[in-house]
Amino acid sequence: MVKKILANGEPCKKCQDVERRLKEANHWAKLDAIVIANENDPKSEGMELAQSYDIGVAPFFIVENEGEIKIYTLFFKFVNEVLKDRSSNSEANKELIENNSDLDFI
C-alpha cells in the first residue's frame, strides 16, 4: 500500500480512513509493505512508485501475482477482488460511481 503524507506533514485523511478500515477488518497484516509518498520529497519511495506507474491518487495498492503487476486505486475494488472481502459491496458501488463520471448518466 502506498499512502501519502501531505506537504504540511499531516497524513492524508483518505489514507488514514483506509488504514482504519483495513485494520478493523483484520486485513492490515495481509499487506506486505506500507510505503510512504511524501509530497515534500519527490524521491520518497511512494512518490517514485506513483511516478513510475503514473498514478495520481493515494492511497493505492500494488499487487504482484505470478510476475504480473496490477495497480488498484479503488480501495473497495481492491478489498473485493484481492482480499476477497465482499462485505462492503455498497461502499464499493459508491466508490465506483464517484470515480467514474461515465456512470453519471446511466
Binding site: K4, L6, C15, E39, N93, F105
Partner: protein, 238 residues
Amino acid sequence: MKPRKTTGRRSPQQVLRDAISHHPAGRIAISFSGAEDVVLIDMAAQQGLSVDVFTLDTGRLHTETYKFLEEVRKHYDINIEVLMPDPKEVRELVTKKGLYSFYQDGHSECCAVRKIGPLKSKLESLDAWITGQRKDQSVTRINLAQTQEDQSFSTDDHTIVKYNPLSDWSLTEVWGYIRENNVPYNKLHDKGFVSIGCEPCTRAITPDQHERAGRWWWEEQTQKECGLHAQNVVKIVG
C-alpha cells in the same frame, strides 16, 4: 470475450449489428434509460436484430418515463427486463438518511444503491452491454469509444465489453433520427427535459444550457482531495 478490433469509424447501426452478432444471444443486452437512447431499440428493430433489453427502475422515475417504457414495450413488441435495487439496501438508506439524502450528501450514495448495485448484478450475467452514451453528453466523455472494455465492471476473471454505438453522434443527430423515423419518445422531452434520469434529480433546461445542467444541478464540481500534489512528479487526477 474481448472487444473485436475494428478499424475506422462505423455507423451506429453497424456497431449495433457487429456487437449483437459477436456475442451469443443472452450474453449481450441494450441498457435502455427510458430517454432518447430509444433509438438503439429502433435501430435493432429496423435491422431485424433480436437483442435483450433491460432498464434500471430506481423507484424514483417520472410517471412519464414509466409510461414511455410501456409504450416502447408495446410499440416494438419486446420484453424489457426491469431491474430493481436491493430492497434491503434501499430500506437501510432511506431509514437512515431519508428520501432526499442526495440533496445534502450528493447523488453517489443513492445512485450506488439504486443504479450501480442492480446494474453490476445484471452485468455479471452478460459479456457485453450496449449503451446510448455519447461524447457530447459531458466533458468526461470526449474520449468515449464505440467499443471498449468496460473498466468499471470487468473483473480479473470476467471481461465485459461496452458498446456505445451513438458515441460519435450529437444530440441533434439523435433527434434527427427520432423525427425522421417516427420513433416514440419520452413526453418529458416536450417539456424542456433533455437528459432524463430520476424525478428528483432531473429538471428542464433552457436551450442555451448544456444537458448536464439538467442533472444534479445543486452539486458543485468539487476538487478531490486525494491527489498526490507534487507538481511534475505525477499527474493529478480529479
